[in-house]
Symmetry: D2
Subunit: 302 residues, 4 copies
């Protein structure tokens, strides 16, 4: 594995720096674009790394999988009356579809869907962001995972579009808590800083029938783990999910911080990271690395 | 396998007849709704059946996978400049998205996408429908597969909406041949009559790394077989693809004739059939049977 | 005029009570539906009334004309970079169009447009709602016009959809002030209570080349008065503006409180009121009364 | 009037040639862009002209008013169940709205609306285009008005988008005749060649209570004439109708051949022509000329 990892790292390295760093808030725009790391965590507990695998970055939308997991643990199948399970076919922050479909977001990985999931977690937890941070610390075995308050505050300051979505859902009676409270927690979750190793480990339960080896916990049932993977496979990479399935063939979830996690069911959880994004908002080098890895090792689930 | 099949057949039987038979053309509306069959074809060449597995039915949109396969064999990656690989997030016959996205359909399994694929095959074959019929006869080993001319003619007569899509694509310069010619062949492909056994066998190559055991032919490369499966997984069940991935976890493709094919990669190809459809146009009992099968045997790829 | 008014009043009376009172907030839902009044104010200063012409009601969207007038006085042609002058072709509270057109509302009479106009007035006035109330008191000569605080508060409480629009515009940088502040003032303007006589008089300047006879003031230029009338003619009656032009042929503006004002250029300003609304949100009896009046007297401007 | 006309002609002349000639078919693209003419026809039978007022040009969408007039004469109010009377808020050739609104076009002046009106006329007349040509010859008193067959054939060859609309309406059961037949006649109507004088005279009945002085015929009732004017006022200038009402204040109808007709009710019918178009498809110099004329003479109906 280490030699494959090295070969792929070197193959993809020339792409690092191509594309553009997310720049909608200053705190993200200032990241050094020439970083690239990979971590692969096996169901046997081995962790393979290369490059900047231990440099923390802003996990952003990858947090949506953790939020979903917390909501599924608590609400089970009941949660699906408030959010769909279908790919959206539109940019992640579109309001058009939300209006046509009566305030029920298409899936938990577009912004509107993640916000309504945050609203569910808001109802359940006294301090939702601390619950979330505690959760990812346990899953990854790293008690030092931090929230980047500068990023969280800056996201909140630029919240207009997400606020528009939240209010639109509220106008359709699909929102229970105070919009501002939910957005604060939502942005704090996005602003968690983790490195590739943290994320590969934290996602280990999805490659391992719902069981987290780090803290010996059945996080969700085996079936739920497969269901979360299915949702990632159809909706995890913004408006590139179909192409990612076609090229890589693995469930995955990306964030505008440049991280992408992917699951090889029953075998591995992977995190790649490189800050520059392609046109749809996925890490350009990250996608290339996952394509190369999957093709080399024959990992496609299909 | 036979006993599992029997158990699931009996479990699902009470649902047969629920929902509604497709009625947009008379030839489909008159089918007996109380039919239900399953065929499972293994990579070892075994075929397990139950119920009406040998009654032919109109394959309808399942033909889109065969059209795509023929186009991929000939055009390779070049075909993707004319059709996308992303889920659509809208009904299968919507023109809205086609207009916003400049006449390039989102994927080959919505109507517009299958029509543009038919346009590609029209350019390539002198008699496209006969080429297609010959192809499915070879894949299934059944030389008696017929085209239902009454259905084909009736579809053509009710072609307005599909004609609108074809002309809209033509207005965006994404159409090479005569609209009427392409529609004739497209509808003839949809009007092929096959039974569950035919379809399970004909889809065998997708469970078997692209190799068809029936006529010992490498139909497409292993990678292409996985890619076709990936496209089915993200876009194969109309606006229910995400839920199907969540519930069943297998690549699949449905048709309004009530058939659904599904692939267990490296193991089985499956065809279920029951004419009554749920609200999004998928066989109600067929989806239930695949849910039960997948859950019982633990077939989810995720 | 009095006899015509009487004849039309009696002709329309059987329609009063048909349709439905606006019920999205309790304060509006509780109004007595069986009320009906008309006031016609001539450029010679005569005022003809019949029915409940002196019963105050919630002017709602009619306030959008006053807001626009205040903004045009101050910003002149410069205001049109922030809001368009085209009919919308969609319901008054749609976000779809706002998203496609980059946060610039189509005209000042849909909600988004009126909110952005309120944002302009917020920038200009220290206490925007008091400035507005003072303005309509002066225009109508009635110093007792009040704001219905119960209605304003209830609208604010149910602000979600309007808040969504405001935040969406803010996300496109077409919003200068605090969203909550602007909405407070916007709803207070909608909650002004005026009767038919007040409104007919207050709109007199639009029938009189921009000149208000009540307080001898050139409110806007003659050209601006014609321009405001033109905007009412193309966009003043929600998604019924074209039919209103076809049937009535006069510039007009309606509100969900059941009031409609109309202008006979160079001659009359009219206010009709009856609380029950037709399907698109215009007073059912009010529209009928204006059709009858216009047809009887030959008032169509076309 | 002649001196005003001269002053405005000279004022606008520098704009002639700005913008772009319609180029979607070669026959239109080859027109000399530096042409500019105005004709004003009074209810007293006087005709004032300047510039290229006697050079024939392709009337294009101006023909939609003639088609509508023929349909209203025959079908009366019954026609409005097949086409609406509301502004569209979208480009003239959009299919989006047509799909959302179930195949009923918003008004008779967008392409879909004019095509459905042509379908009505197809039902009524044995040779619809000849009936139309005869109609405009009578209205203008010019028996030599010709159809430009090269333009008509070229439009037909590039019919894809209009064909898509027609088939989409057919799919919603809002189309009675053969799509190809109707399109042939529709394009022939668009391809009529008339000059400014022809058009000013032919539109005289709309300024004159429905009465045509040329051939002493009550073309439509006075009320219908006002209704046609109302429809032009709200929907006659593509996605610039609101701005045209704001700036010019007259009912008008434009065509991509560069012609614009406008009505001063009870006084004048006007035709301006200059081939170069602004961004929304209206004659750039033509709009400027009408703004100047209306403002100079105080013609706004508002």
């Amino acid at each position: 594995m280490n030699s494959i990892l090295k070969r792929i790292y070197e193959k993809v390295l020339p792409l690092v720096g191509e594309g553009n760093v997310a720049d909608y808030i200053p705190a993200l725009a200032s990241v050094n674009p020439n970083q690239f790391g990979i971590a692969i965590y096996s169901n046997k507990g081995e962790c393979y790394t290369i490059g900047d695998a231990k440099t923390p970055f802003s996990i952003q939308s990858i947090s949506k999988v953790f939020s979903l997991t917390l909501a599924m643990k608590h609400y089970g199948e009941g949660m699906w009356k408030r959010v769909g399970r279908e790919p959206s076919g539109l940019p992640f922050n579109s309001l058009v579809q939300l209006e046509y479909e009566g305030g029920v977001p298409r899936n938990p990985f577009i912004n509107a869907g993640a916000i309504v999931v945050s609203d569910m977690n808001q109802t359940r937890f006294a301090t939702p962001h601390y619950a979330m941070r505690e959760f990812v610390r346990r899953l990854s075995g790293n008690p030092n995972i931090k929230t980047d308050k500068v990023v969280a505050d800056s996201e909140y300051e630029h919240r207009s579009r997400n606020a528009a979505m939240a209010y639109l859902m509220k106008s359709f009676d699909n929102f229970d808590n105070d919009v501002e409270d939910v957005l604060h927690n939502y942005f704090s979750n996005c602003a968690l800083r983790m490195n590739c190793v943290d994320l590969a480990k934290a996602f280990g339960f999805l490659a391992n029938k719902g069981y987290c080896m780090i803290n010996n916990e059945q996080v969700v049932s085996e079936q739920q783990a497969r269901q979360i993977n299915a949702l990632m496979a159809t909706s995890g990479l913004y408006d590139e999910a179909g192409t990612f399935a076609y090229m890589v063939g693995l469930p995955g979830k990306s964030g505008v911080g440049g991280g992408i996690v992917a699951i090889v069911p029953n075998q591995f959880s992977i995190c790649v990271w490189s800050p520059c994004l392609n046109k749809v908002g996925n890490s350009l080098a990250g996608v290339a690395a996952l394509e190369a890895l999957s093709s080399e090792i024959g990992w496609s689930v299909f």
